[in-house]
Structure formats: C-alpha cells, structure tokens
C-alpha cells in the first residue's frame, strides 16, 4: 500500500470518537426499534396470509410482494420525503421540534423524521421477509400433525398455537435470525436519509480528518463483530429440534435451506 500511514488515534479519540460512539448506538437503537415493528407486523401479515379467506390472502400476498420487490432505499426515500409530508401538520411540527426527553444517550434524537422513517421503513421491509419465512416454517411441518390434532378435538386456533407454530419456529429459527441481522445491516442505508447511524458517522469522520481507512475499518469491524455476536446469541436462544441427531436427508435439506435463505436474505436492499 503505497504511502499510507494508519492513525487510529485520531479516529478513536476526541470529536471523531464521540461521533463514532454516537453512531454505534444509533445503529443499535434503530435496529431494535425496527425489529420490534417488524416482529409485530410479521405476525399480522402471517395471520392475513394464512387466513381461510382467499381475498384476505391476496391482500397479504400483494403487500409482501410490493415490499420484497422494491429496494429498501426507495422505500426509505418514500417514507422520509413522501409519507412524512402526508402526515397532519400538527404531527409533523411536533416531530421536528426539539424534545429533550426524546434524546437517547450520546445525542441521538429519536423523535425525528429520519429516525421514524428509518425504524418504520426497516420494520415494514423485514416484516415481509419474516412472514414468508414463518410461512415456509409452517409448511414444513408435516400435514399429519394437523390431522392428529384435529382428530383429538383441538380447534384450528389451538392446533396452530400448541402444535404447528412451535414446530414451525424450530424449523425456521435460523432464517429468522438471518433476517434480523439483515435488518441491522440495512440500517446503514438509512444514512442516505440523514440518519446519524454508524455509516453516516464514518463518512463524517472521513470528511473531517480524511482518515478514510481507519474510520471505515472501525465501521466494518463493528458490523462484523456485532453481527457475529448477535447471530450466535439469537441462534442459541431459539427452539432446537428436540431429541436425537437430524438424519442425513434432513442435513441436506438444511443445507439447501440455508443457502436459499442466505441468497435471498442478506443482499436484499
């Protein structure tokens, strides 16, 4: 590398250091907020998607397809520029005002248009993927399970709650975790609408003292390490197929599922 000296000190201390720390935290805040929104909406979408009415299924399919087939950047731009502007004047003014109570540690304003647009945008986008993963997990539960439950006198609701969903979650836990990790990575795109998360702050530092490599290296390390740690933690939290080692056929199916999930998930932007 011709003529490049690395100076991490200038990046980790003082003003730049503050910015980066603020950015780390903002990424975490918006990812958590987005994840909550995504989880709630995913359950709603799933319910619509598997409801007995074909008309309601069609609505769910339409919503899911719209959000899966448009780039998240365009969705962010829409929520930030278009949708926010359609809110009533009073609401908009309230959001853009300064509210001391709405500031999380390290100067991160959460009641701001860019934060709301980012959290909502992330939530809605990932909810569509979560709903489809859950549906795949449900479909992978053998049909005989439903028959056994019905023959014992369970209602369909009880069957879903007690027998199908627990097994569905065990089926698709890993893909679900991948989606939440993806949500965190996609938060980087919200820097385009002015959200001061880590990517935004890295660019700030770069334009402040031109230490591009150091700043980017730190940002990269953040995503990799947090992603790794969260992935392990969330993975371990999940339901595991109980008892016994999976058989050979299951392993092959698992590998294929993993590849399909990665191919679809992590690049969606």
């Amino acid at each position: 590398m011709g003529g490049i000296t690395l100076n991490f000190g200038d990046v980790l201390a003082g003003q730049p250091g503050q910015w980066l720390l603020s950015g780390f935290l903002m990424t975490l805040y918006v990812s958590i907020a987005g994840s909550l929104v995504a989880t709630v909406l995913a359950v709603v979408l799933l319910a619509l998607r598997i409801a007995p009415s074909r008309a309601i299924n069609a609505i769910a399919i339409a919503i899911i397809e719209v959000f899966r087939n448009t780039p998240i950047l365009v969705q962010f731009l829409f929520w930030y520029f278009a949708a926010f502007g359609l809110l009533p004047r009073a609401v908009r003014d309230y959001v853009t005002d300064n509210h001391p109570w709405a500031v999380l540690p390290f100067n991160n304003v959460v009641l701001a248009p860019e934060y709301l647009a980012a959290a909502w945008g992330l939530g809605v986008f990932i909810a569509a993927f979560l709903a489809e993963e859950l549906r795949a997990g449900l479909n992978a539960v053998p049909k005989g399970q439903t028959e056994a439950a019905i023959s014992q006198g369970f209602t369909y609701g009880e069957t879903l709650r007690l027998i199908l969903l627990p097994q569905a979650l065990a089926n698709c836990w890993q893909p679900l975790v991948t989606q939440y990790l993806n949500l965190m990575k996609l938060s980087s795109i919200a820097s385009a609408i002015g959200l001061a998360e880590i990517t935004y702050q890295v660019r700030q530092v770069e334009s402040y003292n031109s230490h591009a490599f150091e700043a980017f290296a730190i940002g990269t390390a953040f995503y990799l390490l947090v992603g790794l740690a969260l992935g392990q933690a969330l993975g371990a939290l999940g339901p595991h197929p109980p008892g016994g080692r999976p058989r050979r056929a299951d392993l092959a199916a698992e590998k294929e599922a993993r590849a399909a999930e990665v191919a679809e998930a992590a690049s969606d932007a």
Binding site: N69, T70, P71, L77, A83, S188, E256, A263, D268
Partner: protein, 228 residues
C-alpha cells in the same frame, strides 16, 4: 390530488439518463449494472462453489468463512471501501459506475456460491458414488453427472439472487452514480413538491422489473413439476 406530470416531464431521464450523450442513466443504467455485476458474480461464485466441492475440508471451510465475511459487511460499506481503496492501491481512478459494479459482483458472488453448492449437494449422494464407481475423477463426476442435474435446481435461487442484485444497484445512490434511484432523488430535490409521485413511480418501476422476473421463474418452474 397526485400530479404525475413531473414523471412525464422527466420520463426520458428516468428511463435512460443521458444516453444520447453517451452517459446511460436511470433504468437503463440499472439494468446494465445488474447484468455486468451478475455475469461477474456468476463466474466467480460458480468457480468458488466448484472449488469448495472438489477440495472439501479446509478449503470449503475457508470459502464459507470468506463468504460469511463478505456478506457480513453491508453493501454500502463495500462500495465505500472500493471507492477509496482502489485509487489508493492502484493510484488510478476507476469510473464510479465500475466501482459499484465490482462491489456488487463481490457481494453477490458469495450468494451465488451458496446457491450453487446447495444445488449440487442436494443431489442424492448415490449419484456421486455411482460416478466414482465407474472410474470418473471427482472433476468428471462434477462435470458430467452433478452439474447437469443440479442446474434446474439452482436456477430459481439464482434468479432470486439476480432480483436482489437489481435492487442492490439502488445503492449506487451513495456515490452519485446516475441509476434509477439516484435520478429519482435528483428530480425530487430539484422539484421539491412531488415526492409521493416520484417515489411511487420509482418503486413501481422496480416492482414491475423484479416482479416480472419473479413471475417468469415461477412460470418456468411449473411444467417441470408436472413432468415428474
């Protein structure tokens, strides 16, 4: 009342940028970048998958670790890295469009590798065993027995990867490359009062493009199912 005149007035710009001046932009540039990155990612990804299958063991683990590393960094960062790294390393400045295409190819090749490998490994192990028993080398088994059978399985997930790639081209926004999303952003900052029309239109264009591809794959799948 939504006023879509802003779309009509800027339609050529949305669709092909300044193509008449030799600078394709808008939807045209989106498609060009997706195809270029796609071809590169396909070549690299398939090669990596073949290497992983042929050499197994440590090579496979290393490739998987590399792929996880590639996917673990948000695409935006990868674009930035290449944007700053290439001029610093090679003392030469690459056109921004090419930088984005390389970033996209790098990022997508990992997905191609996963898909290809999964498709090959989903075949019954008996196929490999039969091939080896008849005296073929592992490379021969791959070339004559596995790949031909794996391809129909791999195509749908590769199509999904390509659809993601089309959406990922929107991130060129961040380095001001004039593809569809950047153009939309520019028209919006210029006109200020039509964000709804502009971004709904932009979303619709991607939706039609990606949705059509999705549908095509879906339809192409069906006759196969019936033939079995």
């Amino acid at each position: 009342m939504p006023d879509f005149s802003v779309i009509w007035e800027n339609l050529p710009y949305f669709l092909w940028g300044r193509a008449y001046e030799g600078q394709p932009g808008g939807l045209l540039l989106t498609i060009i970048m997706a195809v270029e990155a796609g071809v590169l990612a396909l070549a690299v990804g398939v090669l990596l998958a073949l290497a992983a299958w042929l050499f197994g063991g440590w090579m496979r683990r290393a490739l998987f670790a590399a792929a996880d590393f590639i996917r673990g960094i948000p695409l935006i960062f990868v674009i930035f890295w290449l944007y700053f790294l290439i001029p610093a390393l090679f003392q030469a400045h690459l056109p921004d469009t090419l930088t984005v295409v390389l970033a996209l190819a790098w990022f997508t090749s990992a997905a191609v590798m996963y898909s290809t490998l999964a498709g090959i490994e989903a075949l019954p192990p008996g196929q490999t065993e039969a091939g080896l028993s008849s005296g073929l080398s592992r490379l021969g088994v791959l070339a004559y027995i596995l790949l031909p059978q794996a391809v129909p399985n791999i195509l749908p997930s590769l199509a999904g990867v390509f659809i993601s790639l089309i959406k990922d081209t929107s991130l060129a926004f961040i380095v001001n490359v004039q593809e569809l999303s950047t153009v939309a952003g520019q028209v919006n900052s210029r006109t200020q009062i039509y964000p709804t029309e502009i971004f709904l239109f932009t979303g619709a264009v991607y939706f039609v493009l990606c949705g059509a591809l999705s549908l095509a794959v879906h339809v192409a799948q069906r006759p196969r199912a019936r033939a079995v």
